[in-house]
Amino acid sequence: MHWTEYFGPLMEGAWVTIQLTAYSTVFGAILAFGAGIGKLSSNLAIRAISIAYIEVFRGTSLLVQLFWLYFALPLAGMAIGIDLRLPPVVAGVLALSLNIGAYGAEVVRGAIAAVHKDQHEAGRALNFTPRQTLRTITIPQAIPEMMPSFGNLAVQNLKDTALVSLISLGDLTFRAEQIRNFTQDSTTIYSMLLVTYFGMALVLTAMMRTLEAYVSRWRTARS
């Protein structure tokens, strides 16, 4: 097998990696907003759930979470009579989203809490409800603050997708492992693998920068 023949299977894996990254970044962002805003809620139950979620998923390791969802959850389901066997792709996206969402939640919470109290007062003086203030005043101002951290988390998420190869999901790393097992050409295959991840990370970073510029455009408007 000539090294140029590695490209086919590697690109197949790269496509899976891209999809995994996209899905878990989007779901993770939803979880991040939910839990980040939930942690600031005045409702005790919502706050407790948000804090518990954030602490558990930030406090344990992603690989532990992935293995737990894939290997242990079906057994927990069996004990209570529910079929909780997850296909690898579901377990993978779920673990990645839950993990990155917990980190993102702290970013969301921090950025929202950092919006100056003057803005809340203006919202109240204009008779916005707290929910309207959050949606039209606080969150739009907090989002640009979140973007640099979200950019880092997105790259982190891309790197983390490599772990799903351990539950036999056919991502980039999994394909590379298959080729290595077949050819024993470690140097070439792993070099190609590293460079591919690096390239994807650079593209992802550029995309996140573009998004950041877009959501912050009101800050940079010139007179």
């Binding site: 344990t60 242990a72 991840y197």
Partner: protein
């Protein structure tokens, strides 16, 4: 049986208790890998930070590209690289050393940024004051910059120590018998993953909570030693 310990599958609780000594052995490996990886990250990160701050672009630019490359590629792939590629060039390291080294290398890219940020946070006014007092650059660095940078660096480093600990399970891919790997093996052999994997989750939660409390303690202890934070 693992490491000479038998497990007791009569009830989940009995199972949990019987595998505690086994998990404990894995946990000690986890802690050793964390500490060694952290030390490598601290040392190598400092090297990167110095190189990146070098006046010559011929030195600083490659250092920047290398750390960016390290930071943007997955730990698991880096570990594969170290474990399978180095021996092809005659460098054969035990799995544990490979793992700790891989962790250290990955996190050196992050710690180098902590050093840089810590040093840059000491403003130009401090350097100007030192120049006005006719301090040598070396004296300025060791007596003005470093003492002020350390309190900024310490909390971030503490957080990376916790992150490293959470990444140790990845070392299982190069056969290191850290705590998750041990739990997985117990699960493979008993077909009962629930108890060992849940226990590992709980152990991690305890360790990170303790470690975070430690970092916070450091945050309050350092100022009392006359080293103000931030």
């Amino acid at each position: 049986m693992l490491f000479g310990y038998e497990w007791d599958l009569s009830s989940p609780l009995a199972f949990a208790i019987s595998i505690l000594p086994i998990l404990w052995i894995g946990l000690t490996v986890t802690i050793q890998a964390t500490v060694l990886g952290f030390l490598v990250a601290l040392g190598l990160g400092l090297v990167w930070a110095v190189l990146k701050a070098a006046p010559s672009r011929l030195i600083s630019w490659p250092a920047k590209v290398i750390t960016e490359f390290i930071r943007d590629t997955p730990l698991i792939v880096q570990l594969f690289f170290l474990y399978y590629v180095l021996p092809e060039y005659g460098i054969v390291l035990p799995a544990f050393l490979t793992g700790a080294l891989g962790l250290g290398i990955q996190y050196s890219a992050y710690t180098s940024e902590v050093y840089r940020a810590g040093i840059e946070a000491v403003g130009p006014d401090q350097r100007e004051a030192a120049r006005a007092l006719n301090f040598t650059p070396a004296h300025t660095f060791t007596h003005v910059v470093v003492p002020q940078a350390i309190p900024r660096i310490v909390p971030s480093m503490g957080n990376y120590l916790v992150s490293i600990m959470k990444d140790v399970p990845v070392l299982s891919v190069v056969t290191v018998l850290e705590v998750l790997n041990v739990a997985k093996i117990v699960g493979d052999r008993t077909f009962s993953y629930l108890v060992p994997l849940t226990m590992v989750g709980a152990l991690y939660l305890i360790m990170t909570l303790v470690a975070s409390a430690g970092v916070r303690l450091l945050d309050t202890w350092l100022p009392k030693q006359g080293i103000p934070l931030k």
